[in-house]
Each structure stands twice: as structure tokens, then as C-alpha cells.
């Protein structure tokens, strides 16, 4: 490569980067008018998505989900509780979403991100109201003991579409959940029926048949940005900070609407835009289902 040429390349490169930082909106609008995004995606396409099941050995179920560079680690730990009087044969799910300081330059220790409790609430609303998990399957001894599933989701890298990635990792963690086999001991407590003790004790397992949870109507989501007449699917953090109107649609496997979430934003959503967002989500839900199925069948082969 000749020297003058290399310098010429460098100077244009710097100019584009400077333009991008100084006039981010104009930079994006230039791209949008050509129906392309700076990362070479068409407007309606989501970033590459991967799921890895069983990332955490100390949890009963876990999954790592990545959409673009946004990374979420979800893990479920099962503990035992006494079910409430109103629902003696139902377990419980406690969902929490964390944004540790490693995930983004805006989060500092002792100053938690504003988004974390909001995403956390959105996730538990979505997962509990979708009816994906039948809480009756988490019952152990009616009225005496039931599972409490602690689902903790950690954001390891925040680059937009946090809710979508978190929901995907949560769903994948539930599909990987392996409930330990337990028995009721003499003190009325539930203890693990570990392999080495199996010979020694004559205790009966109380959940031989219930080692997996059935996932019915799995929710999948897609976040879109509305900007003028453009709809951008699966935004990056940069896009979210420049164009502030976000619409998150959650559909379950039977295409029922679980959530349509648009918290304000300068752009008004008209019926046609909402319809477009729902159509994009339908398509995306199929993709995600396929990716999840592949991850699960990949586990079974191993």
C-alpha cells in the first residue's frame, strides 16, 4: 500500500468519526435516507443473536444471551418456601435485574442505574402475566413446601435493547432449569436427595416426576425506535441515545400481545406504525424461537 493513499484514508476516516460525534442526528438521518444503518444493517433487521445454556454451574438453570454486543447472564437458584394460605399448591418466582458497574460507563458503584428497577419490573410483569410458567408445577408438598425460583439477570455489557436481551436470557434459563430431586426429612424440611446418600436413606423423593418446568406460550420481544417515518428494529445504545422514542412489543408463541410498551418519547405512534412494529415482532419471535430451539437441541447432543 502506498504511503499517500494510507494518509488519505486516515483523514476521511477521522472526518466521518468527527461528524458522527458532532452531528449524531444528521449522521443517522443521512444513513436512514439510504435505508441503511451505520452498522450496515437494514432498518428492520435485528443484530446477531446467540444463546449459550448452562453458563453458571452453581445455579439450577442458567443462560447467556447476546444480541449484538449486549450481553445478559441469567441464572435461577431454587430455594424452598412455605406457600401462602391463598395458594397452597403454588410456587413463586422472584425476578431481579442487575446492572453492575462493569456493564456500562454510566453506572458507578453505589449509584445504581435508573433503568435497572424499571427493566426489572417490566420483566417480572411480562414473565408472570404471560403465563409461561405454571406456578402449580413449582409445588412440592401442598400447603407445606413449594419452590421459590430466584431468577437473577445480570447485564454484562449494555449496548441497547436491554429488555429484549434480558427477556431472552430469562426464557432460556427457564428452559435449561433442572430442578434438584429432593425429599422431606424428619424435621419437615426439604433436603437434597444427593447420589451418595441415596443408598443410606430410604426417604422418598417428592418430585421425581417434576424435574423440568413446562414452558407454555413463551414470550419474545422486540424493541423498535420510531424516528420520523422510519422504524429501526433492535437499536444499539448509540441509536437509543440519539432517537428517543422506543416501542417494545412482546408477543407470545400464539401471537397474543403480552405487552406494548411505549414510555413517552417525542414521536407519536400512529396505528400504522404500531401495526408495523407488531409485524416486525412476529417475524423476530420466529427467529428467536429457532435460535432457542437450536440451543436446546445442542445441549441434548452433548
Amino acid at each position: 500500500m502506498g504511503l499517500p493513499n494510507a494518509i488519505g484514508d486516515l483523514s476521511t476516516e477521522v472526518e466521518v468519526e468527527a461528524f458522527r460525534r458532532l452531528f449524531p442526528l444528521r449522521f443517522y438521518e443521512k444513513h436512514l435516507s439510504e435505508s441503511i444503518r451505520p452498522d450496515a444493517r437494514p432498518l428492520g433487521r435485528a443484530r446477531d443473536t446467540t444463546i449459550a445454556l448452562g453458563a453458571v454451574a452453581s445455579a439450577n438453570g442458567s443462560a447467556l444471551a447476546k444480541i449484538g454486543s449486549t450481553t445478559m447472564l441469567a441464572a435461577i437458584k431454587m430455594e424452598v418456601m412455605t406457600p401462602s394460605m391463598e395458594t397452597p399448591d403454588e410456587g413463586c418466582i422472584a425476578i431481579d435485574f442487575h446492572m453492575p458497574p462493569i456493564c456500562s460507563p454510566i453506572v458507578r458503584p453505589g449509584r445504581p442505574a435508573e433503568a435497572a428497577p424499571v427493566v426489572s419490573k417490566q420483566l417480572s410483569d411480562t414473565i408472570l402475566s404471560s403465563g409461561m410458567i405454571n406456578l402449580k408445577e413449582l409445588s412440592l408438598v401442598s400447603g407445606k413446601a413449594a419452590w421459590m425460583a430466584y431468577l437473577d439477570i445480570y447485564c454484562l455489557d449494555a449496548d441497547g435493547a436491554l429488555f429484549d436481551t434480558a427477556l431472552l436470557s430469562a426464557v432460556a434459563a427457564f428452559s435449561h432449569l433442572d430442578i434438584p430431586e429432593v425429599s422431606l426429612n424428619d424435621d419437615g424440611k426439604i433436603v437434597l436427595l444427593s447420589e451418595e446418600q441415596e443408598g443410606m436413606s430410604d426417604r422418598e423423593s417428592v418430585n421425581k416426576e417434576k424435574r423440568k418446568v413446562t414452558l407454555s406460550s413463551v414470550p419474545f420481544s422486540l424493541t423498535c425506535i420510531l424516528h420520523k417515518n422510519y422504524i429501526l428494529a433492535d437499536p444499539t445504545a448509540e441509536e437509543e441515545s440519539i432517537m428517543e422514542t422506543l416501542v417494545t412489543v412482546v408477543l407470545d408463541s400464539s401471537s397474543q400481545l403480552v405487552s406494548l410498551y411505549k414510555p413517552g418519547g417525542p414521536v407519536l405512534a400512529y396505528t400504522s406504525a404500531i401495526q408495523d412494529c407488531i409485524a416486525l415482532t412476529r417475524q423476530r419471535a420466529k427467529e428467536l424461537q429457532k435460535i432457542l430451539d437450536e440451543a436446546i437441541s445442542g445441549m441434548e447432543v452433548d
Binding site: 435508573e114 433503568a115 428497577p117 424499571v118 426489572s120 419490573k121 417490566q122 410483569d125 402475566s129 404471560s130 403465563g131 406460550s217 428517543e244 416501542v247 407470545d252 401471537s255 397474543q256 400481545l257 403480552v258 405487552s259 406494548l260 410498551y261 411505549k262 414510555p263 413517552g264 418519547g265 417525542p266 407519536l268 405512534a269 400512529y270 396505528t271 400504522s272 404500531i274 407488531i278
Partner: protein, 242 residues
């Protein structure tokens, strides 16, 4: 289809509305809003010089503090704060008072369903009372959807019935404009049909959601008229009503 409601309302009937402005003397603007037994107070302080955290040399900043009726601020309140903040940011003209912060404090007096919409309406009135420049008002409404029918403005009991799904919708009010008719419409839809905020709970079909939108838009016209009328009254008259 006719649906019986506990309080004998028809499905499109709202509960009695009441609002009053300028009820707190220390705040720069304040309002109370009630629909049925749900009552919310809103106070506005500002615009004041921007705090370090919210500094922005180009735009005004809004912060929302949500005080529940009892107990501490939890995740639910944080979510309400975020939705309210983003909703209000979209209706205020932020470039008039750059580098300032306006605080909005919401105090829940009583919750009997449709809490977030009531708070949005109250906050909107309080902003007008404080003289904060706004593009238009935001009209919030709650719809409960169940296979084929929609009921408006549910009570807490109606919201909590498990099989039902509900949506909080916020629309802009109809703008009285000097511009020729139709110039404000987007793709043939008038501006007041655009959704500022939509939050749904529970599973519903897509058709049900659009049905909710229809009903919500129709009801927002009534609410918008009510807001406009009460804002036009002199503040001394309206303080008696509260």
C-alpha cells in the same frame, strides 16, 4: 354486548371527574385530580437552576418524584416515575428554559384503579398551573380489554381480576390551531390519534389492543374537553370545586 359493572356504569362510562388547581401555596404550580375514589396530588417546583446531575446546556430537565400512599418507594414507583418523566418530557417545550430542572412531585391520596393515568392528568394540570411551556396537553386513560369488549376507567377491583388485561394509554389533546385544517395530521390520522405512551399489563389479542385504542381515543376527547373547560375557569372558582 352489555357488561354489568359493580358500580352500575356502562362500559364506556367514566367515573365522576374532579380537578382543582393552585391548591398548594409554596409550590410554583399544583393540582389535584380525582376520578371516582382515585385521587392524586401533583406539585411542580421550578424551573430552577440545573443540578449537576441533570445539567444540559441545550434543554430543560424534568425530574419526577412519586410518593406512594403508604410505604416506601419500590420498583413499581420507580417505573411510574420513569414513564411519567418520559411522557412529560415529550409534551413540554424544553428549549425555552435550557439548563434548568423542573421537579414534579406526585402524592397518591387514594388508589382505586387507573392510578398512573390519574397521575399523568394531575401532573399535566400542575405544569399548566406553574406556567411551564407545553406543546399540548396529555390525556391519559385506562382501558380493560377482554375478548371483544372494552371497559373504560376501571376501579381497582376491575383491574385486579386476573383474566383481564388492561392498557394505560396517553394521547395528545386536540389542538386548536390557526393552521389550516388537516395540516397537523400525519398519514391521514389527526394528531390526537397518536400515542404518546402505552403501557399494558396481561395478555390480550392484537385486535383487542386496537379496539382499546379506538375506545381510548373516543374517551380522550371527552377528557380533553373537561380539562380545557376546567383550565379556562378562573383559578379561584376551581379551588372551591376541590
Amino acid at each position: 354486548m352489555e357488561v354489568d359493572r359493580e358500580d352500575g356504569r356502562t362500559q364506556n362510562q367514566l367515573r365522576p371527574l374532579a380537578c382543582s388547581r393552585n391548591i398548594l401555596h409554596r409550590a410554583h404550580g399544583s393540582a389535584s385530580w380525582s376520578q371516582g375514589d382515585t385521587k392524586v396530588l401533583a406539585a411542580v417546583y421550578g424551573p430552577k437552576a440545573g443540578t449537576k446531575k441533570n445539567e444540559n446546556p441545550e434543554k430543560a430537565c424534568i425530574e419526577v418524584i412519586w410518593k406512594p400512599k403508604t410505604g416506601q418507594t419500590g420498583k413499581q414507583e420507580k417505573e411510574y416515575e420513569m414513564i411519567l418523566k418520559r411522557t412529560l418530557l415529550s409534551i413540554c417545550i424544553l428549549t425555552v428554559n435550557p439548563n434548568t430542572t423542573t421537579s414534579i412531585i406526585i402524592q397518591v391520596v387514594n388508589d382505586d384503579g387507573a392510578l398512573l393515568p390519574s397521575a399523568i392528568n394531575a401532573a399535566c394540570l400542575a405544569l399548566v398551573d406553574a406556567g411551564i411551556p407545553m406543546k399540548h396537553l396529555a390525556i391519559a386513560i385506562c382501558c380493560v380489554a377482554k375478548s371483544g369488549y372494552v371497559i373504560l376507567d376501571p376501579t381497582k377491583l376491575e383491574e385486579q381480576q386476573k383474566m383481564k388485561a388492561f392498557a394505560y394509554l396517553v394521547f395528545p389533546n386536540s389542538v386548536h390551531s390557526v393552521l389550516p385544517e388537516g395540516s397537523l395530521s400525519v398519514q391521514g390520522e389527526p394528531i390526537e390519534h397518536g400515542i404518546i405512551t402505552s403501557v399494558t399489563h396481561g395478555t390480550m389479542s392484537v385486535d383487542d389492543y386496537f379496539y382499546c385504542l379506538d375506545r381510548g381515543r373516543a374517551a380522550s376527547v371527552k377528557l380533553s374537553d373537561f380539562l380545557r373547560r376546567s383550565l379556562q375557569q378562573h383559578s379561584t372558582d376551581s379551588s372551591k370545586a376541590g
